[in-house]
Amino acid sequence: MVGAACAFHLARAGCSVTVVDRGAVAGGTSGAGEGNLLVSDKEPGPELDLALRSQELWRELDAQGLGEGFEYEAKGGLVVAFTAADLSALRTFAATQRDAGVLAEEVAAERLSEFEPHLAPGVAGGFWYPQDAQVMPALAAARLLRASGAEVRLGSTVTGLAVSGGAVRGVRTTRGEIPARYVVNAAGLWSGALAELAGSRLPMQPRRGFVLVTEPLPPLIRHKVYSAAYVSDVASSDAALQSSGVVEGTPSGPVLIGASRERVGLDRTPSYDALGRLAAQAAELFPFLERVAVQRYYCGFRPYLPDHLPAIGPDAHVAGLFHAAGHEGAGIGLAPATGEMIAALVAGEKTVVDAAPFRPERFYSEEAQP
């Protein structure tokens, strides 16, 4: 997804772009996650700024007529609290978000059913986030890539960088060398290996997530709905299983319930505990789901950096090489603003969102310190 968005913005800025991937389109994490475009779960800071800019860009893409092709839905999110304590924490959190430009409106318990008629009774209250939206990620990547007009070389693995005089000259792939003045490393979870080719370090780690998919249903769930506990999960560095079900309908019918978060390396062994937890949490939000069939589940690995921020910007060692990776559980949402930032940096222009917090060399300078 991130690579497609970079290609889109670079092409729009006038570059001629070639996209190389060892697999198919959306063959990495982008084809194994969900398509929530959330601001509601983000605390004020650089990631939220990037997310807010991205929301604008997603709306622009939709206005250009691209949205339908990837099922863009500006449906808004509803965060609910089961206890008074959760609700007051949520209230505090929302207040700080509002100062950063997020639209958040408190919904009293008795009004929640206007938003979600099938929500469980006994919820303490909630917040409505009209900016939250949704896309179908694989289609978004494929359509954006196609709209970019970039040349696409699938099934080619990058094996090396062509560097001379400290500047990049292209990439070596299993299907020959591709000359280029600029190279963008948007290899997600695998971008650490590409960074190493330049002698740089991106300590990328996988964070596993499972998503449950139900039978097709009518639009019984209107928005993205999750419990307030999700907010603390996202910001956590704990390796153990965490999950608080985000429940959302899709235009094609199935309801998606996700996602769990575990740091277990690249292990694909199904965890029936994680699946059970997701199911239980979804049923807590929407009791009618108890009797609905789960048809499948899938698992993906979020590309994770220790400080929960993506690396976006120039490489410190090799001129012309840029990194755009490590978006963890928000790479779909953050992709357009990331692409825009990369295009501006390549052109040497001022970025819309401040790029400093995303500097990739924060990891290698960190390492240099004893």
Partner: protein
């Protein structure tokens, strides 16, 4: 046999079976009987309501027709086997338990709760493979085995004037049964060109004891006088709201002929149902007809210790080999538990090897003719569940960068519906190849056999897993 009503209580009480056999078809029944006769405590787990699986599918008590007994051949063998299962005090038969996953160790996860067992024998059989053609989604089009199952289980015909088509040995008993039950079988069209097919449709008729249905079947089949043709396939089904006619032609589209009919029974061979095993991590093998089966050793052991596979799960080979393999696995599990060095008798294994060799020959003669692709119209549904037309699959492959079946699925939803790709998986694997002359990618064929949940599970059942943990 002990019928167990509440298995959740059973396993919660710490009851662990020596072996859980999944599937009560011929293979599973034989495995359960052999294991129990050798002292093991067995759970025979079956999603349906009766013993017998596909081959020995039979009407519920009370249903009858004068011709009903002619639908089955070798029925006494079923009765013997059923008696072995039903009279054993060491076998708990768990009907209406849908297994949706197996956890290593083993924990058999069913819609009625988990069942613990030290060993597991996978006997989940197969399902039918069909490739799309215009009109195949019309009511009145059945899979060949589906028509057979309807008849064997309900004593109901799929139609009065029936065409049987596709490829493979199963078409013959299907045509024979339909005819016995009073349908007019307008023709049996075997898509592969097999010399002498009309006279000796299979080595099976010359060699009756070897496979499938046996000698009385061969006689019955010849008596039915079904017109047999080889080298012809159904390239289109016609009708507005239900089937009215089919177009039969050579794979290259020549020799088109319209046949008015009210039912079509079509099948392009069977595919092993091995999703449980693949999710568990058992090794697989790719067979010559593009189906994927479990790799087993001479004692039916899969690559995963304690896990055995018998019958169609180890590759389609018919009822005889299902029965023999069940015995072998049951004896081998028992020998393993008893720490005895002799597993299963060599004579049984030799018999199994002969049956398997014969099945390999048959399989090689009945591939899906690659020309099926040429007959698709842009609006022909490839995925029936999600109503994905061939046009959308072509767009994904040609314009959107889908170079494998997984990406076709992601971009079009083909294979994401209720059946989870059981019906369209093979077709999508073929269509993911831009170049129609290239055979499907083995990884895509594997993907078509794999699905994380073997059955849809009510969300509440999954949630129960979590509540139990607390």
């Amino acid at each position: 046999m002990t019928a167990v009503a509440d298995t959740v209580a059973e396993s919660a009480a710490g009851n662990r079976y020596d072996v859980a056999v999944i599937g009560a078809g011929p293979a599973g029944m034989a495995a359960a009987a052999a294991a129990a006769e050798n002292g093991l405590h067995v759970a025979l787990i079956e999603g349906g309501r009766q013993l017998g699986g596909q081959y020995f599918r039979h009407p519920a008590p009370g249903l009858n027709e004068p011709w009903a007994s002619q639908l089955h051949h070798g029925w006494s063998r079923f009765e013997t086997l059923a008696t072995r299962v039903e009279t054993s005090s060491r076998i708990d038969v768990l009907f209406e338990h849908q297994v949706w996953a197996v956890e290593a160790g083993f924990n058999i996860l069913t819609d009625r709760g988990p069942i613990a067992a030290a060993h597991v024998v996978l006997a989940t059989g197969s399902y039918e493979r069909v490739v799309p053609f215009p009109g195949w989604d019309l009511p009145g089009v059945f899979t060949a085995g589906g028509a057979q199952a309807l008849l064997k289980g309900n004593l109901v015909l799929p139609g009065r004037r029936v065409v049987v088509a596709g490829t493979g040995p199963l078409l013959l008993p299907v045509a024979a049964s339909l005819s016995v039950a009073g349908a007019k079988v307008l023709g049996l069209f075997e898509a592969n060109h097999i010399r002498g097919y009309a006279k000796h449709p299979l080595p099976l008729l010359k060699n009756p004891a070897k496979l499938l249905e046996g000698a009385d079947f061969a006689r019955q089949f010849l008596r039915a006088r079904v017109p047999l043709r080889s080298g012809l396939m159904v390239v289109e089904a016609q009708g507005t709201d239900a089937l009215e006619a089919v177009i039969v032609a050579r794979p290259d589209g020549t020799h088109r002929r319209r046949i008015a009919c009210d039912a079509l029974a079509v099948g392009y061979g069977l595919a092993p149902q091995i999703d449980l095993a693949l999710t568990l991590g058992c090794e697989h093998k790719l067979l010559t007809d593009g189906t994927v089966a479990l790799r087993v050793d001479t004692n039916q052991r899969t690559s995963l210790p304690g896990c055995y596979a018998v019958g169609e799960t180890a590759g389609i080979a018919g009822v005889e080999s299902a029965l023999v393999e069940g015995e072998i696995a049951g004896l081998a599990v028992a020998a393993g538990v008893a720490k005895s060095r002799n597993g299963s008798p060599a004579a049984l294994r030799r018999r199994r090897d002969r049956l398997r060799a014969f099945a390999d020959v048959l399989r090689a003669r009945h591939p899906v003719p690659p020309a099926w692709r040429d007959h698709l119209a842009p609006d022909t549904l490839v995925c029936r569940c999600e109503e994905v037309p061939a046009r959308a699959v072509a767009e994904a492959v040609e314009d959107l960068g889908a170079t494998d079946a997984r990406t076709v699925k992601l971009l079009t939803r083909a294979g994401m519906g209720w059946c989870q790709g059981r019906v369209c998986g093979y077709a999508v694997a073929c269509l993911a190849r831009r170049d129609p002359t290239e055979p499907p990618n083995p990884a895509d064929l594997l993907a078509a056999a794999k699905r994380p949940l073997a059955r849809p599970v009510p969300l509440g059942v999954l949630a129960e897993q979590d509540r139990r943990n607390k």
